[in-house]
Symmetry: C2
Subunit: 117 residues, 2 copies
DNA sequence: ATTATATACTTAGTAATACAAAGTACTTGT
DNA sequence: ACAAGTACTTTGTATTACTAAGTATATAAT
């Protein structure tokens, strides 16, 4: 199953950023929480290692689509870094979803023999 | 529109190989023909430059999903390299489509708030 | 006849990303 | 005390879409 693993990796590219933005749409979340929700809500199809997620978050922050702040640890001693979506991030999320669906539907035309679906 | 261009590039990754295989499913074709059909059938969403397509074809050939042969130029003097899908290629195409749709649907679950679609 | 455009294939270099792997550090369960 | 889970960071690798340039022939325009 090596070949399919390779293609799966490639097919996820670009989509992960969109999914992370989506999870932050209504609520601030921290890294590990994002990994858990992504895994659970995607039927385990999107099961990220930390080394995959955190670079995505740093990138989104560079692009000013999210902002982060460290939590003041009250009861729990482990500091957490919370990520929230920005106004720019919300707008970009809308554009990304449109783009993503458009790419899918146009590819689907070819996969179904130039038929609209 | 720089950011969206970047994401569009990423979101196409992996999908192009599948689309090229699909176009070869029923008929041998040559490079330029593939570019034309891909552009036309995808509503111009997939408009490849030669420098994008040919490396894909070489890769598919390395993976033994397609085979190529030069045409004997009879009337027309320009030699063409025709690509045809192999048996392995046909099977891989089926698996790629399944994988691609699965990734899309599981991502869609997240994009629609953990709803099945 | 010369120029431009289209066809047809090739190659080198760049930017970007998902992932593996390893590391640091704290907390909880046994 | 030890293992396992939580939480974040960093480095290195493989892969791919794209730009750009190059080679070459055929056809249409000036």
């Amino acid at each position: 199953m090596f070949l399919n693993d390779k293609y799966e990796t490639q097919m996820k590219k670009g989509v992960l950023d969109m999914l992370v933005l989506k999870l932050l749409e209504n609520e601030e979340k921290y890294g590990y929480q994002i990994i858990s929700e992504l895994k659970e809500k995607s039927g385990e199809r999107f099961t990220l290692k930390e080394g995959t997620l955190y670079p995505i978050l740093y990138r989104l922050e560079d692009e000013q689509l999210v902002v982060s702040k460290w939590s003041e640890p009250e009861g729990k001693k482990v500091p957490r870094k919370y990520y929230g979506i920005t106004q720019i991030g919300k707008q970009e999320l809308l554009e990304l979803e449109t783009l993503w669906r458009d790419i899918y539907h146009n590819a689907a035309k070819i996969m179904e023999g130039s038929q609209d679906e």
